[in-house]
């Protein structure tokens, strides 16, 4: 039976990103997530913790997993929630982000979960609103809850993140998931490798203190776990790839490729999957894949973040 561990409280009242978060703070969130996971396995999957807390999900960008996951997390904690999507809102009438957020806050909302196409949008709101702001993905900046659930999944699989070799594959330069994972994993003492075509690799990537490779086979041979990113077709304005087929042939993860390595790494994918592009169907559905565990963990991680950040009474 595990005994009491005192965890360090989070130092920020918002979750804008994993950059700058200490290992102990990440551990606090991951440990709380384990407690939340137990709730998800109960016949009555609900606790009364956030009764009376109102959360607004401001989604300026399309999302399936993240939004449903946040919604479920809020409902399981008995919070009240309001959903906002860009389509059908006054944003199409030209209302600014700040005005939208201030107006919603004026309706007495304690927590704002925001996804926005512009990097820094959650930080912008955090400086101006009195609510707690949780970043659900901002442009190519960060997606902290995704990285937290990736780390939770890895910790469950490997026990400890320290010294773990994680390769992040694919479209690094357009990926907020990659950035958050790099910050989080580095803080937890894991080794990180970024791998992808040079056109999809940000400049000065070495400054992050990660390994960089342009050969997918090298990454597979090195890594304990592969986090395969989605090729963000909607974010690519100029021709960075010759063709999708070319990408699938040179960077796609296939059973054949994995077969060449001595051991098969664990496969993660933040979803949605472009089957047959960055990852072969057979790999996504194989035993090595923990993609659906990630989704389950996503709800637990978001519950933990919501509880930890909205625990203190914030009177509007």
């Amino acid at each position: 039976m595990d005994h009491e561990r005192k965890n360090r409280p989070l130092t920020s009242r918002h979750l804008l990103g994993l950059e700058g978060l200490a290992a102990e703070e990440i551990k606090t969130i991951l440990d709380a997530s384990e407690a939340m996971k137990e709730i998800l396995d109960r016949p009555i999957k609900k606790v009364p913790t956030l009764r009376g807390v109102t959360v607004v999900n401001l989604f300026f960008e399309a999302s399936t997993r993240t939004r449903i996951s946040f919604e479920l997390a809020e409902k399981r904690l008995s919070a009240d929630l309001v959903n906002f999507t860009k389509i059908g809102s006054s944003v199409s009438k030209g209302e600014t982000l700040l005005d939208t957020a201030r107006n919603i806050e004026a309706m007495r909302v304690e927590v704002v979960v925001i996804r926005h196409q512009s990097p820094g949008a959650p930080g912008f709101l955090a400086d101006r609103l009195h609510s707690v702001v949780i970043n659900a993905g901002d442009g190519a900046h960060e997606h902290p809850t995704q990285a937290l659930l990736d780390m939770l999944t890895l910790r469950q699989k490997f026990g400890d993140l320290k010294g773990l070799r994680v390769a992040i594959l694919g479209d690094i330069s357009h990926s907020r998931v990659a950035m958050s994972n790099v910050y989080g994993l580095k803080a937890m003492g894991a080794e990180v490798m970024l791998c992808g075509p040079p056109t999809l690799m940000p400049r000065n990537i070495d400054a992050l203190g990660v390994k960089v490779s342009y050969k997918v086979d090298e990454a597979i041979a090195w890594a304990d776990a592969l986090n395969v990113l989605r090729l963000q077709l909607e974010r690519q304005q100029s021709a960075l790839l010759p063709s999708l087929r070319e990408y699938a042939l040179t960077f796609g993860i296939t059973l054949q490729r994995l077969g060449k390595a001595k051991r098969t790494p664990v496969i993660l994918h933040p979803g949605p999957i472009n089957r047959g592009v960055e990852i072969e169907s057979a790999v996504a559905d194989s035993d090595a894949s923990v993609i659906l565990d990630q989704v389950t963990n996503g709800v637990a991680v978001r519950m933990a973040v919501l509880v930890l950040l909205s625990a203190p009474e914030v009177l509007m």
Partner: protein
């Protein structure tokens, strides 16, 4: 006049001037690292020490009430009482409440086996998410895993905690247990009952009744967690010396 003020305030707001300061209870409001527009504030005055847990309050040891041998005897008696009241240990289950209730529950489980020979399932309950002061506390909660890997439906549950005080933690535990199933019966076993109940809750098995005053607290120390088995009576040391009622 009132509406004038409201109008002024809304104009100020629209001009981007700082909004009136808000009362925000937050751990960071103590360290001053919190964002703009947040005032440092003091917790509302309220009786009871449970509320003060998050703050640095000094305690002075007043008396050692029970030593290791005393705890051993008390737990042995409790185990006998539990077996007697439940006519054996069939259909019984023990649930320890974090933190020290867990160690007491572990020991009761062993003692019940010695008394009755039956293996009683043991669970661990963390009630943080059910607490009524969840949103009043000044510190972030320490959320830990509830671990009950047996079916509690139709079981006789003995809920175990170290100190029974206001009864609020037990209220939370009852809610938490009900969410896990429908036990036939829930009984409460505590090592110390220190009085001052705020809810109509009574324990079925009491190790020791300790009448206390509000400024005092009972500290149970368990070898597994604190390095020794003992029960202490401590009193709060206020800044104004006159307030502490030294006897």
């Amino acid at each position: 006049m009132c509406s004038d003020l409201a109008l002024k305030e809304s104009i100020n707001r629209s001009r981007g001037r700082p909004r009136p300061r808000l009362r925000i209870y937050h751990p960071l409001s103590w360290s001053g690292e919190i964002g703009k527009g947040v005032q440092k504030c003091h917790p509302p005055a309220r009786g009871g020490i449970s509320f003060m847990e998050g703050m640095r309050v000094n305690f002075r040891e007043k008396a050692k009430l029970v030593d290791a041998e005393g705890i051993r005897r008390t737990l042995t008696r409790l185990a006998h009482e539990i077996v007697e009241r439940n006519r054996g240990s069939q259909n019984l289950a023990i649930v320890g409440m974090r933190t020290r209730g867990v160690f007491i529950a572990e020991r009761l489980q062993k003692l019940i086996k010695e008394v009755d020979g039956g293996d009683v399932p043991l669970g661990v309950l963390d009630v943080t998410l059910y607490r009524d002061d969840f949103r009043l506390k000044l510190k972030q909660p320490q959320i830990q895993v509830t671990h009950i890997d047996f079916d509690i439906d139709e079981k006789n549950i003995v809920l175990v905690d170290d100190v029974l005080y206001t009864g609020r933690t037990i209220r939370a535990a009852l809610d938490a247990l009900m969410d896990l199933g429908r036990p036939a019966r829930i009984q409460l076993a505590v090592l110390v009952d220190r009085g001052h109940r705020e809810l109509p809750i009574k324990s079925d098995f009491v190790g020791k009744n300790v009448p206390t005053s509000i400024g005092e607290e009972v500290r149970v120390r368990m070898a597994e967690h604190d390095g020794e088995d003992a029960i202490y009576l401590v009193e709060r040391v206020d800044k104004e010396e006159g307030k502490s009622n030294g006897s």
